[in-house]
């Protein structure tokens, strides 16, 4: 069996199946929905950070763009939700194309510029002068599309898509080329990799993943404010989860979300008064003691992790 088939059969399929079945056994469906959402976003971060080394600190910009792309089609064109999902992807893609020049920046400069771009987009969308188009600061409220079951199913499909992208990157020449660029862009260019183009592709793919996640979120909640869908918590959570598991693998982000978001909710349910404190300390400990993620514990023993 080829490697990618193994990865699909033993990682992606069980994960999707589990989250398809879980709602029947556990009825806090929103918790499950958020798990699916963060699995998608963490994998999206993995695509750009794990495979190119660019840390998208304003990743939520695409999520928000997707949420608004979805909502605007519903509000103004009364599009069916499925078609509006296309709007979510297009909106995120358009923003990503606009921001492609940021890839010229290195290291922290890229991250900060990306964060600034996400904040700028939020300020733009929530400006009262655009009330007629985006509802400005007064928030989006969609009637007639409320259907959490269908939105959950769509979220599963989007997550499956994000996972398949990771499988593809892990097993394709393109993914290999990206990693080569990450390790040493000069040698990669000499070896015939079109460095800027490879990075741009990863960037656009990762943006579309977040955009679709944003669209599905908008569909699920139907009422939201700009602050909700541009909350920097989404970027930070997605990055921290991906990092905790270990990037540039398929499994890392999945493990990261399942464990860390699980712990997050456990703290939230059990000791809410010290929520922020415990979580902040946990993040610090993670960076100081496990900078390569959980996966590195296994890798150190010479085991190859998909």
């Amino acid at each position: 069996m080829p490697r990618y088939a193994k990865h699909i059969l033993f990682i992606v399929a069980p994960l999707v199946a589990a989250f398809a079945i879980l709602p029947f056994a556990y009825n806090n469906q929103l918790l499950l929905f958020n798990f699916v959402l963060f699995l998608t976003l963490a994998q999206g971060v993995n695509v750009i950070y794990g495979f190119t080394g660019y840390l998208p600190f304003g990743y939520v910009g695409f999520f928000g763009a997707g949420a608004y792309g979805f909502s605007l089609l519903i509000l103004h064109l009364h599009a069916p939700p499925l078609a509006a999902m296309g709007g979510a992807a297009v909106a995120a893609l358009a923003i990503a194309l606009l921001l492609t020049p940021l890839l010229r920046l290195s290291g922290a400069y890229f991250s900060i510029a990306n964060l600034a771009a996400a904040l700028a987009l939020m300020q733009f969308i929530s400006n009262p002068n655009l009330e007629a188009i985006t509802r400005g600061p007064y928030g989006v409220s969609m009637t007639g599309v409320f259907n959490p079951r269908l939105a959950y199913t769509m979220a599963l499909i989007v997550m499956a898509g994000a996972m398949l992208v990771a499988v593809w990157l892990r097993n394709s020449r393109f993914g290999l080329a990206l990693q080569a660029v990450r390790e040493d862009p000069v040698s990669a260019a000499q070896a015939g990799v079109d460095v800027p183009r490879a990075r741009a592709y990863a960037w656009l793919i990762s943006a579309v993943i977040a955009g679709l996640a944003g669209g599905v979120f908008a569909w699920y909640v139907t009422v939201f404010y700009p602050e909700n869908v541009f909350s920097s918590d989404y970027s930070i959570f997605a990055v921290v989860f991906a990092l905790f598991g270990g990037v540039s693998t398929i499994l890392g982000p999945i493990v990261g979300v399942l464990i860390l978001y699980g712990v997050y909710n456990f703290i939230g349910f059990s000791t809410p008064q010290y929520f922020q404190l415990i979580y902040g300390a946990l993040i610090m400990a993670l960076v100081l003691f496990l900078p390569q993620g959980l996966i590195s514990l296994v890798k150190r023993r010479g085991i190859d992790v998909p």
Binding site: Y49, G53, L55, F57, P101, L102, L103, R104, L105, S106, G107, A108, Y109, F110, S111, I112, A113, L115, A116, A117, L119, A120, Q123, F124, N127, P128, N129, P185, I236, V239, V240, L243, Y274, F275, Q276, L277, Y279, G280, A281, L282, I283, M284, L286, V287, L288, P291, Q292
Partner: protein
């Protein structure tokens, strides 16, 4: 209206130079992103607030207290966090996450200690002791009200924070260009690996820079109750983002660049607030992106930051 906005922008910008100054040092020397910068500013603000509330200390005298106190906090914090961080594979990126965690911890502790509601210090009490001292010395009492510049009146806090900012910049400049440690600091700034190879105690130099950086954030915080309306434990995030805009516009390592960045930020902010007020918060972000793309090394910078 135009003159007023311009002048206000310059004064406001000076204050933001002070806010960004410490971040510039930390980022410049260690290449780590201190996302908790604004939270140290917040702590500095509470330091001034409690000194004022409990002991009636004029916030002007809270400046040296905050500087020493937070400098002393910064040194052990450096040894606790940074060497370990720098040993990792991608410290620049990881620092964003590490300091985000720290920022969460600080905000949580501050909330537990101080509560969530807005606090402030009466506007006229900044520099009151100085004014009274001056009055006793010369017999001329200075009134506490607004100050006139070019026929426009500004709150006295703006002038005092502007002056404090200029002094801070001058001191940092002297430190970097006129002292031996400062010279070594600049060496570490330009090539950390080479500095290490030539036998410079990089950790010591960096620790001092880190301490100064955090101390400067706290000093900026002393003025926050006057410049930013009021203070809350959650105020840190916004200050951090503006600080980044300011230091990226200037250039790393050069305190004069931070002043320029602050002034550009202040003036453009006030102009937009005057003429297109609802877009005012969009501006720092756009400015930041534009400057990074058009002139990636900052307005005064020489080094390139392209990938």
């Amino acid at each position: 209206m135009l003159t007023y906005s311009l002048l206000a922008g310059l004064l406001f910008g000076l204050y933001f130079s002070l806010v960004g100054l410490g971040l510039n040092l930390v980022f410049g020397v260690m290449r780590i992103v201190n996302l908790a910068h604004g939270d140290f500013l917040m702590l500095g603000a509470y330091c001034a607030f409690w000194l004022y509330t409990l002991f009636g200390v004029d916030p002007v005298f809270a400046i040296p207290v905050a500087f020493v106190l937070f400098g002393l906090v910064g040194l052990p914090l450096y040894y606790l966090l940074v060497p370990r961080l720098l040993a990792a594979r991608d410290p620049e990126m990881l620092s964003i996450i590490l300091f985000f965690g720290l920022s969460q911890v600080i905000e949580a502790l501050a909330t537990i200690a101080f509560g969530t509601s807005e606090q402030s210090i009466p506007g006229g009490d900044l520099g009151r002791a100085l004014r009274e001292g001056w009055g006793r010395l010369t017999g001329h009492e200075i009134e506490s009200g607004p100050v006139e510049i070019f026929g426009q009146s500004f709150p006295s806090a703006w002038i005092i924070s502007g002056v404090a900012s200029l002094i801070a910049v001058a001191l940092v400049y002297l430190y970097l260009y006129r002292t031996r440690t400062g010279y070594l600091t600049r060496a570490v700034m330009s090539r950390r690996d080479e500095a290490l190879a030539t036998g410079i105690d990089v950790n010591r130099v960096s620790a001092i820079a880190f301490g100064i950086g955090i101390a400067l954030a706290a000093v900026g915080g002393v003025f926050a109750p006057f410049m930013l309306g009021s203070i809350t434990p959650a105020m840190g995030v916004d200050s951090t983002v503006v600080s980044f805009a300011v230091i990226v516009m200037g250039s790393l390592g050069n305190p004069l660049g931070t002043v320029l960045g602050g002034l550009v930020y202040g003036v453009s902010y006030m102009l937009v607030q005057s003429y297109l007020s609802s877009w005012a918060n969009l501006l720092p972000y756009l400015l930041l992106i534009a400057i990074l793309l058009v002139r990636p090394s900052g307005l005064l910078g020489k080094r390139v930051r392209l990938a």
